[in-house]
Symmetry: C2
Subunit: 279 residues, 2 copies
């Protein structure tokens, strides 16, 4: 039986009639929330500030940050039945494509950062990518929990590299065959290939992969250099643009990788994994 | 200072540039999550089954349930840049307008219910209503936590009435001047007025109100009779259509009512309220 059908059969995911949009059954949620708590504990040493944003975001903000140019094929926008004729017309909103987007303008509004800067924890945000598929590892709507680091270049750089090891260790403790690799974003079109090659060459993105149906990115690290700080004006005290980086955990993919590794009956998982996840 | 500006000033809410779409600061989230846990404890006696759904839902499902007819002015639909020309075109998805909508078809798919039926806990779902406003009590995107009861008419009816008292007691323990009242949904247009009058007359909806800027519904009970069970075919073992009812808590409104009642500095709230919310 294909994996997706097996997940429905066991009540782990719930069909809605649209590919890539599923409900979560009780056991799936138990694992997901257990993993979320594990990240909270692992991130405590960073003393992150919790900020939470809705699954909709000003469309203008995504345009300004370049999302519409780089990933037009993934964008979701919000329409509403407007006017006396109740016709569907565009609103000011789009669907949030990654948890960290709203963080940058809101931190910029606070004024300059110290060189040590700060760490923001977005909590598990529901994000959207328009890529309908029957692959359970490629959802249209899924939870992304992001840690965002903003500060002086050396601070942000060393934070990102330390988290590469911490995240690998955390995921391997769960019994996953997790491996880090350099990655690239799915930029659109021919110009996108050049962007992706440059991203790879500069090692601005790396991912942690684990098997679902083949190796799948379950966590992703992006080093943005001055991209967001120059867009929004995030400066350092004493002058200079801040650097930013983020680390995103894909909740649903991590649960799926765990189900692939340890089986669909959570009560049969190894004791140490259940203990890590407080199951 | 208007309440909304005061909330921004204190970092409780975070501006995004679109009215009714705000981020939550750390302290707002602490209260919200504390309240969510309180509902979990209060609902434990019902032994609810946790099912969670994304903030997007098949558009067809909302059409089938009558949402487009009854509340066209509140609908949000999802468009994507599609085709070789990347034009914005409608997808199969709409934004979830209430946490309970996806519950009914998924329970229907399981087959007939016992007369005692079951209780579903949706967890805190992000829902959307297209009604841009500067009133912090009227958000476009907010958390709704719903308990949904499905079963024989007498079971569902008595569950709803028992929760009226339990919810009032729970909210009053938090120091809120909470009062129950018969309510009606904001049905669209002239025909909508007739629907709302009939709903009021049959006492199918009641709300718990507390002051924010004036009395505001912070929890809402809807008795659907056979509306959803006849739409989706939710039947009872031995024959007959199930009844359904739901109780929704509006997380953000409840936090706002608490901030109005006890002040913007959570550390100064009464000890018994902080203890209830584990703050």
């Amino acid at each position: 039986m294909p994996f997706l059908a097996d997940l429905f059969e066991h009540g782990l995911l719930v069909e809605t009639g649209v590919p890539g949009v599923y409900g979560h059954g009780r056991e799936f949620e138990r694992v997901r929330l257990g993993f979320d708590d594990l990240v909270t504990r692992a991130a405590a040493a960073d003393e992150p500030e919790r900020l939470r944003f809705p699954p909709v975001v000003p469309r203008r903000q995504l345009e300004r940050a370049g999302f519409f140019n780089s990933f037009p094929h993934l964008v979701g926008t919000v329409f509403a039945l407007q006017g006396d004729d109740l016709q569907e017309r565009a609103t000011e909103l789009a669907l949030l494509p990654a948890a960290c987007y709203p963080v940058y303008p809101s931190v910029a509004a606070r004024g300059p950062l110290t060189r040590d800067g700060l760490t923001i924890d977005t909590g598990p945000a529901y994000v959207f990518r328009h890529e309908p598929s029957d692959d359970p590892g490629r959802l249209q709507s899924f939870h992304m929990r992001e840690l965002v680091r903003l500060g002086a270049p050396e601070t942000v750089h060393s934070w990102q590299w330390s988290w590469r090891d911490r995240a690998l260790e955390l995921l391997r403790r769960l019994g996953l065959a997790a491996e880090a690799d350099v990655g690239a974003d799915p930029f659109f079109g021919r110009a996108g290939k050049i962007l992706a090659d440059s991203q790879r060459e500069q090692q601005l993105k790396f991912e942690i992969l684990a098997p679902i149906d083949g190796p799948t990115a379950i966590a992703s690290f992006n080093y943005h250099q001055e991209h967001f700080s120059s867009t929004y004006g995030i400066e350092l005290e004493g002058g200079g643009a801040a650097h930013t980086a983020c680390l995103g955990f894909g909740h649903e993919r991590i649960v799926l990788a765990l189900l692939r590794q340890h089986g669909l009956d959570i009560d049969d998982w190894p004791g140490e994994v259940r203990s890590e996840l407080a199951l």
